[in-house]
């Protein structure tokens, strides 16, 4: 490698790094007072195993609990979970209707705290997103649209039930709710606009409040709030996972998969992607730092040169670039 090439490679570190895949992640499932954990720390769990019973519409009651029972906050009695003793009567959180919380991933339970959370160290690998709405959920991955494509409500059919769909650069709330109604278990999308997000969350709240609920459903947003193609290295990985069982969790927001036999594609090390600006979503290769440049609006920013597929080279603000590892 020549000195000049080495300098270019070293300068690539000036570009923000985006980690594609992580291993050994810990997933948190929040609990509320009254919820009953069904697992203990150190236990192994399989995907789909119930890990807690969640109380719907928890209520507060109080009653005397004999001191001989040595009651403590957080312990359970038939009515629910003990909260605190007030003037000889224990405040209790409980409810008649419960629903099962199932882990969408296999792993080892690291921590169980009644009323707070269950933490599981997930087996397999994970791809990070910006935010996950709804869920947790699991299903077979299906790439339904290209990186810069868009899935419309009319493009859905019941044959997609049980899948987690990769739908491209954006999606409307109507399509999200239609997909949920058809039994789709999750959506992976590049960008989700605030309006669509608000409308979907309102719909999800109504659905969760209904007596007969649909199976868990989650939306994983990979990029942000504006329409932007899914990055090619990300789409390559998703394509490699086509047909595999994957899961979406919200804390932290990520896609989890346990597929040790899948050889995930690795992007070339000098690949850079333009995240913002007029060329947002374009990809090219790093051609070195070029120093401060003047951009639109008279703004001076540190820039790097990007070589595109057609051979052209352009100076792009470093802040607009991302690389992958």
């Amino acid at each position: 490698m020549s000195v000049a090439t080495e300098a270019v490679a070293a300068d690539l570190g000036l570009v923000s790094r985006r980690r594609l895949i992580d291993g050994g992640v810990e997933v948190t499932f929040p609990l509320a007072p009254g919820d009953r954990p069904l697992v203990a720390a150190g236990e192994s769990v399989l995907a789909g195993a119930p890990i807690a019973e969640r109380v719907r519409d928890a209520q507060l009651t109080d009653r005397v609990v004999l001191a001989s029972a040595e009651p403590r906050p957080g312990e359970r009695v038939p009515e629910g979970e003990l909260l605190f003793d007030w003037r000889g009567r224990w405040r209790i959180a409980g409810g008649e209707v419960t629903e099962s919380l199932e882990t969408p991933v296999a792993g080892i339970v690291r921590e169980v705290r009644a009323g707070t959370a269950i933490v599981i160290r997930a087996s397999g690998r994970a791809m990070h997103g910006i935010v996950a709405l709804g869920g947790p959920s699991a299903g077979h991955l299906h790439v339904a649209a290209g990186g810069d494509g868009e899935l419309r409500a009319g493009g859905l059919d019941v044959g997609l039930a049980g899948t987690i769909l990769v739908v491209g650069s954006r999606i409307e709330a109507e399509t999200l709710t239609r997909a949920r109604a058809m039994g789709v278990r999750g959506i992976i999308v590049g960008g989700l606009a605030s309006k669509e997000r608000r409308d979907f969350l309102a719909s999800e709240r109504r659905q969760r409040a209904a007596l007969h609920r649909l199976p868990p459903y989650a939306v994983l947003v990979l990029e942000g709030a504006v329409r932007r193609p899914i990055a090619s290295p990300v789409l390559d990985i998703l394509s490699a996972l086509e047909g595999r069982e994957v899961a979406i969790v919200s804390d932290p927001p990520m896609l989890l998969f346990d597929a040790p036999d899948v050889d995930l594609p690795v992007p070339r090390p000098d690949l850079v992607r333009i995240r913002g600006g007029q060329l947002g979503g374009s990809e090219g290769t790093w051609a070195g730092v070029v120093g401060p440049r003047r951009f639109a609006g008279g703004i001076h920013l540190e820039a790097g040169a990007v070589r595109f597929e057609d051979g052209s080279v352009m100076a792009v603000p470093l802040g607009d670039l991302e690389r992958f590892d």
């Binding site: 000036l14 959370a117 605030s194 990029e223 942000g224 709030a225 504006v226 995240r275 003047r294």
Partner: protein, 554 residues
């Protein structure tokens, strides 16, 4: 040969921006040799390499003297500070009034605050809030002595919090005011891994809620500023480690005030929190301490841009946008703060910065009751991507105080790092050397108040370098006088009517210093009044900004 380092690096790892500065010993003093700011996701070592390469290229002799060239880079001592995301504090109280005071104090002490009172929330919901896995500390308080409206609730509240404390023993818990008397409910506190701290009642709380602080300041005959707030100081210590660059802005501002012998105010707009610090120079050998507020709610790009945030940005936006689109752009700014920084992105940052200043000013209203400081220092990554002359305008658009102040920019983000030097004498010594280098002069702003609209308010003559420039003062606008960095002048104001400019009067002679924005005479209303109609407001804001933003249309 000496082993004393002749150069070192300061690295400020911010939430959005990483800043590297090379400090070298030249001419018997520490000098800022070079600086580079990059997105926080970039690696620091290549940034250091690039910075050193530039220094070597610019002045090979100096770099050789400092010993920074070639393979010596890795051997350079590094002084690093790192911002961490604000931690979440649950604040609970017996009454809404008490809660308001506690939330006010906690919200300016570096905490991201969630509040609830026994008056407004049932015990189940409150337990849910306190047990939430995102909560990292609890503040439970009452007035001292307890108010009538909270007396009956505080014992049950203490029992509830004690039960949570038992279930989450790692959580630090602060008992404030009369709540301290319920310490016995927490059992053996020494055996608990998380501290239980006793604190006085919030000053604001004991004098009538959040607004009480303002009244308390106004009612003290000697006071331009409130007395130190022990609860706020305790919460600040609990929220941020001593080397956190935001907390270090307090000591840095004090050191700067001592070095310059001037009243200094620092305003830092960060990705996760805004900081405001004010310091007077030490007098009579008695060390002074800066007032400091760290306000996560005034972050430039809050994690969840709610309607209030979006409307606040919309108010200052010079680019047409509906609420949904602006919310999308605020989310993008949160996710990738350096992306899309040119063109409309810069205008968005200016609007977001002004909106953050409004939120900061709302929480730190007590700072504005003091006279205008001699020097205002602006800091924060948001200013990295906008023309420097517009920075002072953005601040005076929002924080409107009659008076004259000089403005400067902490362009190398050194204040956070220097403020974190633990030894005050060493900090002062380094600050003495670096004060001139770390501040990029933006210029001076003179803001008279009480002008009558509709006619000429008088005139100003600027005496500089033996020449005099006279101009008429037209109320409602901005007058710009070209005064380059390093130049000083005397501005002689003659108003037709009595105005407020520090004191009340018609004739004033003000010493002013030049800068990238020159001398700005701000003849607009105090406080600023903006048109209701969005298009007129945008045009007006854009016109004011255009005078200081060269090449905006390019």
């Amino acid at each position: 040969m000496t082993t004393e380092p002749r150069a070192f690096l300061t690295i400020d790892h911010g939430a959005a921006t990483s800043s590297v500065a090379l400090i070298g010993r030249a001419g018997g003093a520490w000098r800022l040799i070079g600086t580079l700011a990059l997105p926080a996701g970039a690696d620091v070592d290549p940034a250091i390499d690039l910075l050193v390469r530039r220094v070597v290229a610019a002045d090979p002799l100096l770099s050789e003297t400092l010993g920074v060239g070639g393979s010596n880079v890795e051997a350079l001592p590094r002084f690093e500070v790192r911002s961490r995301p604000p931690r979440r504090l649950a604040v609970v109280a017996g009454s809404e009034r008490t809660l308001a005071g506690l939330v006010h104090i906690a919200g300016r002490s570096g905490w991201s605050v969630l509040g609830a009172s026994a008056e407004g929330m049932d015990p189940l919901a409150m337990t849910r809030l306190l047990l939430d896995h995102g909560i990292e500390a609890i503040l439970v308080g009452a007035a001292d002595p307890p108010r009538a409206d909270e007396r009956s609730a505080i014992r049950e509240l203490a029992t509830l919090v004690a039960a949570v404390a038992g279930r989450r023993p790692e959580l630090p818990i602060v008992l404030s005011g009369a709540m301290s008397e319920a310490l016995d409910a927490f059992g053996d506190v020494a055996a608990r891994p998380g501290e239980i701290l006793l604190a006085p009642a919030a000053q604001a709380m004991s004098r009538g809620g959040a607004r009480g602080l303002a009244r308390a300041v106004a009612s003290r005959p000697d006071a331009d500023e409130p007395a130190a707030d022990p609860l706020g100081e305790l919460l600040l210590e609990l929220a941020l480690p001593a080397d956190d660059p935001r907390r270090a802005i307090g000591p840095a501002t004090q050191a700067l005030a001592d070095v310059l012998d001037r009243r200094v105010e620092t305003i830092v707009l960060g990705h996760d929190a805004a900081v405001r610090a004010a310091a007077d120079p030490a007098a009579g050998g008695v060390a002074a301490t800066a007032r400091l507020a760290v306000v996560p709610a005034a972050a430039v790009a809050p994690e969840e841009p709610d309607d209030a945030v979006v409307d606040g940005v919309l108010l200052w936006s010079t680019v047409p946008a509906d609420r949904h689109r602006l919310r999308d752009r605020m989310r993008e700014l949160r996710i990738a703060p350096w992306a899309d920084a040119a063109g409309e992105g810069a205008a968005l940052r200016m609007a977001a910065a002004r909106a953050a200043l409004v939120r900061l000013a709302g929480v730190t209203a007590d700072f504005d009751r003091a006279p205008a400081p001699d020097l205002v220092v602006a800091g924060g990554g948001v200013w990295s991507a906008v023309p420097a002359p517009t920075v002072a305008l953005a601040i005076v658009d929002v924080i409107r105080r009659p008076g004259a102040s000089q403005y400067a920019l902490d362009h190398a983000r050194l204040l956070g790092a220097l403020g974190a030097i633990p030894d005050p004498r060493e900090r002062l010594a380094v600050m003495t050397d670096l004060a001139d280098d770390l501040l990029a002069p933006l210029g001076s702003v003179v803001t008279p108040a009480g002008l009558r609209s509709g006619r000429s308010a008088g005139s100003v003559v600027v005496h500089a370098d033996g020449a005099a420039t006279e101009m008429e003062l037209i109320p409602g606008g901005l007058e710009l006088v070209d005064l380059p960095p390093g130049q000083t002048a005397v501005a002689e104001f003659r108003f037709r009517d009595r105005v407020r400019l520090g004191a009340r009067g018609r004739h004033f002679a003000v010493d002013v210093a030049g800068g990238l924005g020159g001398l700005l005479v701000d003849l607009r209303d105090v406080p600023l009044r903006l048109p209701e109609r969005a298009d007129r407001r945008r045009d007006l804001l854009a016109a004011w900004q255009a005078a200081l933003w060269q090449g905006q249309d390019a």
